[in-house]
């Protein structure tokens, strides 16, 4: 049953990606900004411009260009980046791990922070503590990730300079990696000093991405917990003499977590979108930072590859969330 759902979702995902591919390909060629116009020299003649267009395969009719690109994509060849001079697949494969490590770290921090504060807010309900938590959470909700990024820069890189500001790792330590998953690899191979250096570089971008998501989690989970805490089964447990913390964690949380989990999944896709600006501010070498350069330079093959990759990530996350929610909730599993 679950397998059929997965197969069905994957088929829809392929159709969605095909649609994304068409839209991005056409849009790039319709919106102003010709990559050739950006690179021609002052004295270039019409023949020079034509030669450059031919060099980058932009002289063929639109349909022909699309056919060539589609054939390549199906065969796993996304073309060569105009600005980087390397295969798009190679660039994406080398940059994606950095973004994944950052996004997953931010997700973990957001869940831990948001979950913890939501539980605390539930325990402190109808007290001054709850008001303080709600007030602080409203501020967290109102401030976008890039503002957090700038605030963290001022706080931890200038006022109290305890954290490195830019990059993913100290350049002096960036050696001996077999994969591009620097954090995971350094932990698994026991290079904990290197892992610590990577974590120190990731702290600020992770917090900038995690804080707004944590605020969403707090608001939703706290509300769900509040509703669960007045249900009969919680009342029964309370009569049995369970402590308040146990009531929240053991009785209420399991039933309240479903909606939060679903929303967190959706918000995670926004978080990955947020890496574009945050990676830029912290000079973090992920696909977000890469995307900005690609757009500025009108690097068509790279933009097309990036959009497809972002599309694929979003689809996979949504499928993953649906499956997780279904697994946790028997009613949905059999629906």
């Amino acid at each position: 049953m679950l397998l059929a759902v997965v197969v069905n979702r994957m088929a829809v995902a392929l159709l969605t990606l095909a649609g994304v591919a068409v839209v991005v390909f056409v849009l790039l060629r319709v919106v102003p900004g010709d990559p050739i116009a950006m690179m021609i020299s002052p004295g270039a003649s019409a023949a020079d411009i034509a030669a450059l267009k031919a060099h980058y395969g932009l002289d063929a009719p639109l349909l022909t260009q699309f056919w060539i690109w589609t054939k390549g994509v199906v065969a796993g060849d996304f073309g060569t980046s105009i600005t980087l001079h390397v295969y798009v697949t190679e660039v994406l494969a080398s940059r994606l791990p950095a973004t994944l490590e950052l996004a997953i770290s931010a997700l973990v921090v957001a869940i831990a922070l948001g979950g913890g504060v939501a539980v605390a807010g539930t325990l402190l309900r109808r007290t001054a503590g709850e008001t303080v938590i709600d007030g602080l959470n409203s501020i967290l909700l109102a401030v976008p990730d890039f503002i957090w990024a700038l605030a963290l820069v001022l706080l931890f890189a200038v006022a109290i300079p305890v954290l490195p500001l830019t990059g993913r790792i100290d350049p002096a330590l960036a050696e001996g990696f077999a994969t591009k998953f620097y954090l995971a690899e350094s932990i698994l191979t026991g290079r904990l000093a290197v892992a610590g250096n990577i974590l120190s570089h990731m702290t600020m971008p992770t917090l900038a991405l995690a804080l707004p998501l944590a605020a969403v989690i707090v608001r939703l989970l706290k509300q769900s917990l509040k509703e669960a805490m007045v249900q009969d089964y919680v009342l029964l447990a309370r009569i049995k003499g369970f402590r308040e913390l146990r009531l929240v964690l053991q009785e209420a949380l399991r039933n309240a977590v479903g909606p939060t989990l679903a929303l967190t999944g959706v918000q995670f896709t926004f978080l990955i979108g947020g890496t574009v600006i945050v990676e830029r501010i912290f000079a973090y070498p992920g696909i977000g930072n890469l995307a900005i350069d690609a757009v500025i330079n009108r690097d068509f093959p790279l933009i097309q590859g990036l959009v497809l990759l972002f599309g694929l990530i979003f689809i996979l996350i949504n499928i993953g969330v649906d499956l997780t929610v279904a697994t946790l909730n028997p009613r949905l599993r059999h629906a």
Partner: protein, 511 residues
Amino acid sequence: MFNVTRRQAFAAGGGLIAGLLAPRRFAAAAAGNTLNIAYNVNLPSFDPDVGPSSVNPTIQAIYRSIFDQYIGQKPNLSFEPGLLTGWGWNNDKTKVWMDVRPNVVWHDGTPFTPEDVVWTIKREADPKGGNMVSFVWASLGNFKVDGQRISADVVNYDPTIFKWMAFLAGYVLPKAYYEKVGPQGFEKKPIGTGPYMVDAYEGNAYLRLKANPKYWGGKPAFETVVFKFVPDATSRVAEIESGSSDVTLEVPYEEFDRLKSKAGIRGVCTPISDIGMIFITNVEPMLDKNVRLAMCHAVDKQTIIKRLLRGYGVAIDTLEAPEYDAYDPSIKVPHDPALAQKLLAASGYSKEKPVKFTIQTTRGYKPKDYEMIQAIVGMWRNVGIDANIEVYEIAKHFELRMSHKLAPAAFYNWGNAIGDPTCSTGFAMFSKSPHSAWHSDDLDAKIGPFWAEKDEKKRIQGWKEVDRYIAEQGYVLPILQYAQPILYKSDLKVTPNVSGALQPATLVAKA
């Protein structure tokens, strides 16, 4: 299953904590033999001769660290021997000769030869090769090598050919190595003859360079140079303020003024070969000379520089900056609002009945670009010009300019690091150039004879006359020459470069 003893757990925890605290330790180490530069742009490609990066002036400092140009350039834009120790034309300028520096080796230890020079020029001249100025290199042909001397026929006489050898896309690459590894292999492991060798690179993060011990110009001052790619200006300010980087550049002028007097930090801000200008397109209402001249006379450039750029910049009246070969200080277009009003009145315009048009500008692409245009539009309004501001992306500017569809007025910046008038007035104003906005036969007739003028004095004088004519006709509105702010730790000495290329090998030293 892992079996971890208490001792191992303590050791692992200690390592993690040491790692977390390590950044400050590395920052302190920067004062030794490592130079950390918070650089304002990313390095997309290692090929300095092909593709969009090759004509990007902002990354030339990096290319000049790894590669050598045919001809070198001093910080004041004058030329000096590079990989060529001598060069010139024959008397009738039908042939050129180039003497190649002996005893130079590539980073992989193989000898640099005249064949590398010939191969590079041929590669650059190939119109299908992706070099942005292939027409320049194609002006030479039929190369002959005799010892260290290369001679070639002049196919099309270009008086700037040797200047281009010190300019964009003018770097010599290793023939044998490039042919062996191919373009993609070269991107992964580039080699040059320059003062630094590529040690590690992570796109959008950093480039680590190691000193080339066999460099023909002597070993550089720093053993290691790290270019951190920090495009966000706020982050660059934080990098230098926190001590994480030793040098940074292109920070907002307000931040430059704040930080340059701070303990441990010094600053230098001098004019560079980059100017701000307003293109005028030959469409209505710009076909009216009175309107064009009124636009020019209404703008108070000094006030703009003083108020918006905190005094950092030089007002200009032609497209030639003071350091350029054809700069003529006698050409003046003074700020004269009364004259502007008089000119407009002659064409039937006044403050009550203003002439209307659109001006396009970028926003945030150059320092205070949008604010500058806002100020100019305000000045215009005071004399009877009602301009509507349209903000566009730089990519759109290029496309519109190439297709000659810019608005009647369009703000842009223009670099010319070799200071030759063909690369400023010439390409910006000659109608055959894809980058020009004003197209008219009278101007083309003035410019035409000087493209291939063989008498250098006559050529430069001719361009000065062209500049004077353009100023008299109001075919373009030059505004200012930009200044480049550089902040650095006080234990360093930085020499500013008029070209804007902050080369660590020659321009940054220990104080």
